[in-house]
């Protein structure tokens, strides 16, 4: 069965393409990119209505909560939320209860994802058993069963020797380590960025250095071992400077940041709203400006949501007691598209950040619309204006700081493996 996506602008930086083309899909693959309007016999038409046709968006940092906390999210509900948000694939972190630190849990995740038939789900395996930071998890077995990366995300790897060994071990497995960079002693008790707002609100702060000090350590270890290191949820200008400098020397380091660090800053916490609480915390306007520069100049490689669903039980409580994290799968597209609208990054760079680079970092075959590539495609109407409404989320988590935000740009169709998928 053939599918012809027509009437759109193909933006695919993997092949330096940004022009009007029709995309022919056959047997789950991109069969051809055709001049606009060319007839293809036997193909079903899918009209892009003048929108963007891009390689399927990939959110390389999400928490799907299953197994163990299905009341917050399931693999099925999370994968639906992804499709609703225009995301064709997600990488889910290992800090479920119990953790994805063993191959049978990996198998379970993949099985649930297969049954759900929504977005692709790529498991990330734990770095240490039970995420306890003591000894290595069975990394080889995890990767053998389908984990695409290794991470204790949610917690830093406190022990520098364990981090060194994990990096070395991963050299043989050809997967990156995704690094939650945080010095716990420096962030202890903190629930927002340490600065003038935390002082005013009487909340314990998390200094910038709690993140950047660990970024520095892990860059040094990546240099020592030669292993690929990916810094997660970069939130500070200090981290950006370290990553930029390391990249300039050829260290194999990549980095992501999240929509909330770009759209919000610590001033947003003045009303003590738990939906503005996450780790790392919202930083300053200066950090925000530096992150945006880093997205434009190539220092930061990817945008990821750090989708972290919680229920009201964890969130409708005192600010300092509320759980960290916000949902993001259904808002990452329009919130990051604001950077394109403001002219901070080009549409092509945006596609790199949300598709091409995440695929490259995780070693996935998607992230391109080159002929013969797997047919994961997102079609976007960049002009559609809408208001974010948490009550309409497919995710079970309604913990968003963006409820009521007026945004522009929305996915109109998601194609995975050559088939149109609905949330």
């Amino acid at each position: 069965m053939k599918l012809l996506i027509k009437g759109g602008r193909v933006i695919d930086p993997s092949q330096g393409l940004d022009e009007e083309k029709d995309v022919l899909i056959e047997k789950g693959k991109v069969a051809a990119l055709l001049p606009p309007g060319e007839k293809v016999s036997g193909a079903k038409d899918l009209d892009a209505w003048g929108g963007w046709i891009v390689p399927g968006l990939i959110d390389m940092h999400v928490h799907l909560r299953e197994p163990g906390e299905e009341y917050k999210e399931t693999i099925a509900s999370g994968a639906s939320a992804a499709v609703a948000g225009g995301i064709t694939a997600v990488a889910c972190m290992a800090n479920t209860k119990s953790a994805n630190d063993n191959a049978s849990t990996t198998d379970y995740i993949l099985e649930q994802a297969k049954t759900a038939k929504k977005a692709r789900v790529y498991p990330v395996g734990a770095l240490s058993a039970k995420l306890e930071g003591e000894g290595l998890a069975e990394l080889g077995d995890l990767v053998g069963h389908g984990c695409v990366a290794i991470s204790d995300d949610g917690r830093p790897v406190h022990n520098p020797l364990l981090m060194r060994r994990a990096m070395e071990y991963c050299l043989a497995l050809d997967v990156p380590i995704l690094d939650h960079a945080e010095v716990l002693e420096l962030s202890a008790g903190g629930c927002m960025h340490e600065g003038e707002v935390s002082t005013e609100l009487g909340l314990t702060g998390i200094p910038e250095a709690a993140e950047s000090a660990m970024v520095a350590r892990d860059i040094i270890l990546a240099e020592l071992t030669g292993a690929p290191l990916h810094i997660q949820h970069v939130s500070t200008a200090g981290s950006v400077r370290l990553i930029r400098e390391a990249k300039s020397r050829g260290v194999k380091v990549t980095a992501e940041t999240c929509p909330h660090y770009l759209a919000l800053d610590h001033e947003a916490i003045r009303q003590y709203g738990p939906d503005f609480k996450m780790n790392p915390p919202l930083r300053t306007k200066d950090d925000q400006d530096e992150l945006i520069r880093a997205l434009a100049d190539g220092t930061i490689d990817a945008l990821a949501s750090d989708h972290a669903p919680h229920s009201l039980v964890e969130k409708e409580v005192e600010f300092d007691l509320a759980a960290n994290g916000i949902v993001g799968l259904e808002t990452i597209l329009p919130v990051t598209l604001e950077l394109v609208i403001k002219g901070k990054i080009t549409p092509s760079r945006w596609v790199e950040l949300l598709s091409v680079n995440p695929a490259r970092i995780l070693g996935l075959k998607s992230g391109t619309l080159a002929e013969g590539a797997v047919a994961d495609v997102t079609i976007i109407d960049p002009e559609q204006e809408w208001t974010i409404d948490k009550n309409k989320f497919y995710s079970k988590g309604k913990n968003t700081p963006f409820h009521g935000r007026e945004v522009k740009g929305r996915a109109t169709a998601v194609i995975i493996d050559g088939k149109v998928v609905k949330p």
Partner: protein, 311 residues
């Protein structure tokens, strides 16, 4: 005579006019506590619920006496431990109390911002009796009242607050309050107990107590958390006391009319030596006495009493 605010959540919402109204009202109500029959019918039929989620002796007693002297029906609800450990959330607790129809709620909570969260959920007027390290507006108001009573003005005074500024709600509220009233506020303590950008709240900063108290009108000593000693905040209580404690020697270096204050409870011999605490320059017990009057004023002004002065 009514306030612009409906609830007292912190000092941010109080302008000079509102503060003056509160202090003037407290002044007129103070005499009630000196009568043989310490009770007026002003809030008869009104229900005041004191919700204390953090232990407190003087503040709770003070609010209870304030309500009773105005003839309000005062109910105390105390609970220690976080909502999570207790099994019922803070909001559930407050909604249950709300369902019983109180006219005003007084809330103390260990989490900064807890009263703000509650105020979004219930319509009843609230008085914040201390939230985390954030705010303790009734303490600041009684401190300002005590200074005004003692010195006769607030404008132009040099107020030095010494101690654990980082973790002090008393410091934050007093900086705001005294600065609003035109005082020059200084904070002093070791850098490890000084939060970032404290100047933005309206205070100047010093690490040198001897220097900063030389020309002070008011020296307000804060309680030091004993468990913070011999940690990373400061080396020992002994050294803390040497560098930032108020004692007779230091008192002599202050101007002769300078006043010593403390929000209590005092760690005698740590931040304040007993001879200073009990000496003639200390107005610590006046602060406690005035606390009742200031809280009476707030209950009266926020609980509808002010709207019925005509009858």
């Amino acid at each position: 005579m009514a306030l612009k605010i409906k609830s007292l959540l912190d000092m941010d919402g109080l302008d000079r006019e509102d503060i003056t109204t509160i202090l003037d009202t407290a002044e007129s109500l103070k005499g009630i506590s000196k009568r043989p029959i310490k009770k007026v019918p002003t809030l008869r039929g009104r229900t005041q619920v004191n919700l204390f989620f953090e232990s407190s002796t003087r503040t709770k007693t003070s609010f209870e006496l304030a309500g009773k002297r105005l003839s309000a029906d005062v109910v105390n609800f105390s609970s220690s431990g976080s909502s999570l450990s207790k099994g019922e959330s803070l909001l559930d607790t407050v909604k249950n109390i709300q369902a019983m129809g109180p006219d005003i709620m007084v809330i103390r909570h260990g989490s900064s911002g807890a009263p703000h969260m509650i105020s979004r959920m219930v319509p009843t007027p609230l008085i914040n009796a201390g939230d985390g390290s954030h705010s303790h507006p009734t303490q600041a108001l009684l401190d300002m009242f005590s200074v005004r009573e003692k010195i006769g003005r607030l404008e132009g005074l040099k107020v030095v607050i010494v101690g654990d500024i980082a973790n002090s709600r008393v410091a934050r509220s007093n900086i705001r309050g005294f600065a609003t009233m035109g005082s020059e506020v200084w904070v002093c303590g070791p850098p490890t107990l000084m939060p970032p950008a404290i100047e933005k709240l309206g205070a100047k900063k010093s690490f040198d107590m001897d220097e900063v108290i030389k020309d002070a009108d008011i020296v307000m000593m804060l309680r030091v958390q004993l468990e913070r000693g011999s940690g990373t905040r400061f080396p020992s209580l002994r050294e803390y006391s040497m560098r930032y404690g108020m004692n007779m020697d230091r008192l002599k270096s202050t101007p002769p009319n300078a006043v010593i204050m403390h929000p209590g409870p005092v760690n005698r011999g740590v931040e304040l030596s007993p001879d200073v605490a009990d000496g003639p320059r200390s107005i610590i017990l006046d602060q406690v006495e005035n606390g009742v009057a200031v809280r009476m004023a707030l209950l009266y002004l926020l609980c509808g009493g002010a709207n019925e002065t005509s009858d």
